[in-house]
């Protein structure tokens, strides 16, 4: 495994219930890489991401992410794995009962931050990175879909993760907002974070070229290793 490898997947089999959807998955992702994960619905993209953030157990094969061996990952280690990742969802998954600032504060409190001044600074910092300065007092439902997704990305950035896993982050957004979100994610990847983004949006793929892993016919095809 190369020094810069942040995700290393070897001979992994991915099942959905009893069905094998992806066989012999071998993927190696380095720090700062931007990777699209594409494929039809049910092709195993989301399941692969779920394995990476510990939502599904890894039954067959070997995989490591941000220094965590997923094969030996224990239930109580999952929160600590997720603190090394930023996760972004199609439906944003914000805490709808509190303001944007409180959403970010919650992540910080949950991950061991205690200094309130530093927390506030970090909150302003990540909101400014996603272009939402001054909107921290708002409730999630007061923001547009694009803004909510930006909050979700800001939340993913709070703990300065090495990897961001984005599961169809533009699935609920209009084309222009989708482009803004992709641009934001590409900018973030330039700061050295690996980004794995599952998507259906082939227009974006064509416009913003990057390494593409395709899930099709139970196999993985990687544009980085065409053969």
């Amino acid at each position: 495994m190369a020094l810069d490898t942040i995700i290393d997947i070897k001979n992994v089999q991915i099942h959905q219930k009893e069905n094998l959807v992806l066989a012999n998955v071998n993927i190696n992702i380095e720090k700062g890489e931007f990777v699209y994960l594409i494929g039809k619905t049910g092709s195993g993209k989301s399941s692969l991401l779920k394995i990476l953030y510990g939502e599904l157990p890894l039954d067959d094969g070997e995989a490591s992410i941000a220094g965590f061996n997923l094969k030996e990952l224990k239930r109580k280690e999952i929160p600590f794995l997720r603190r090394k990742l930023g996760i972004v969802f199609q439906d944003f998954q914000l805490l709808t009962d509190r303001t944007i600032d409180d959403n970010l504060m919650f992540v910080m409190k949950a991950t061991g931050w205690t200094d309130k001044i530093k927390m506030k600074e970090r909150c302003s910092d990540v909101l400014s990175k996603v272009g939402l300065t001054g909107k921290g007092f708002k409730m999630p439902h007061e923001l547009s879909g694009g803004e909510q997704q930006r909050v979700s990305i800001a939340r993913a950035l709070v703990n300065d993760p090495e990897i961001i896993l984005a599961d169809e982050p533009t699935g609920n957004l209009d084309p222009q907002t989708s482009e803004e979100i992709i641009t934001l994610l590409l900018d973030i990847s330039k700061t050295g974070r690996a980004i794995v983004m599952a998507t259906h949006d082939y227009l974006l793929l064509n416009k913003f070229k990057a390494r593409t892993i395709t899930c099709e016919g139970g196999k993985i095809m990687d544009s980085k290793y065409p053969n």
Binding site: K50, Y53, E55, L56, K76, I78, P79, F80, R82, R83, I87, F89, Q93, L94, L95, T96, D97, T99, F106, V107, K109, A110, T111, M139, H141, E142, R155, N159
Partner: protein, 293 residues
């Protein structure tokens, strides 16, 4: 919904959901408290009735007053006696004359009655077996001629108290189960509505303990609020009952009321704690896909 201030609306809606949980908890605890109150009064009443059960120790003719006094003192000191009352043969004759309505002493030319001691037992000993043992022991005394009590009455009182106690026990056990189920259900519904929030908290790296803590604190807080409302309602019921039935004041025991109120608070805290803990535990263990079922 007030579109001008949706945050206020959200807070109000969350508060109203908490309020309904507190009301459910308080009503259920009130029901349990009422049952506890009934059991306390029934217990007090059974003790009151049992301690009015007693027997009469008929003394021999020739016993000296000093010996009678000594014997009465020894009875008062024994563990089964609540109180004793010495009745001279003259007092006994007077009472009987009043009951019969004629002067039988003048008719007979002498007083055939004997001096006696009325003994009231402590509730624990007011049963046929204990009385029978006490009778046997008393008859060994030189001063005692006879021990008299109504065995059938003692049996009847004990049988009825036992039956009522059994009915109350079965009823209270059933009500307890129903109450726990109702509180558990209210709390589970309240946590169920937050299952996606719980999942989101997990996805951002919060540990199970961190997620569980605020839910449990809130659950316990609701249990305490519910218990205090239930205690207020119970105090109202006690006040009204004593106003309607002043005799109940005789059965009043402040210590027992305090114990009952403490029990209501502890029960409120315990049930809400366990229900919240179990409900949150269930949702932190569910996979995201299972949250939709």
């Amino acid at each position: 919904m007030s579109s001008s201030n949706p945050e206020k609306y959200t807070k109000r809606s969350v508060r109203s959901s908490y309020l309904s949980t507190v009301i459910s908890v308080s009503l259920v605890l009130f029901m349990l408290g009422l049952l506890g109150l009934t059991i306390l009064y029934a217990n007090k009443l059974s003790i009151y009735v049992k301690e009015n059960i007693g027997f009469t120790v008929i003394l021999k003719e020739d016993v000296k007053p000093a010996d009678i006094n000594q014997f009465q003192k020894s009875l008062d000191a024994s563990r089964y006696v609540k109180s004793t009352n010495f009745i001279t043969k003259e007092e006994a004759a007077k009472t009987l004359q009043e009951d019969l309505g004629e002067d039988f002493v003048e008719f007979l030319g002498y007083n055939p009655l004997l001096s006696s001691i009325d003994v009231h037992l402590k509730a624990d000993y007011a049963n046929a077996d204990s009385i029978s043992n006490i009778e046997a022991a008393l008859l060994k005394n030189e001063e005692v001629k006879e021990v008299y009590y109504q065995k059938s009455l003692v049996d009847l009182v004990n049988k009825n108290v036992k039956t009522i106690g059994l009915i109350l026990l079965v009823f209270s056990s059933l009500l307890m189960i129903i109450c726990i189920a109702l509180i558990n259900n209210s709390i589970r519904l309240s946590i169920y509505s937050k299952r996606f929030l719980i999942k989101t908290m997990q996805l951002v790296g919060a540990t199970q303990g961190f997620i569980r803590k605020p839910f449990i604190f809130r659950g316990i807080k609701h249990g305490i609020y519910g218990a205090f409302i239930a205690i207020l309602l119970l105090s109202g019921v006690i006040y009204l009952m004593q106003k309607q039935i002043p005799e109940l004041i005789e059965l009043q025991d402040i210590d027992l009321f305090v114990t009952l109120f403490a029990f209501v608070i502890l029960l409120g805290v315990f049930i809400t704690f366990v229900s919240t803990w179990l409900a949150v535990r269930k949702y932190v263990r569910l996979k995201t896909d299972d949250l939709y079922y």
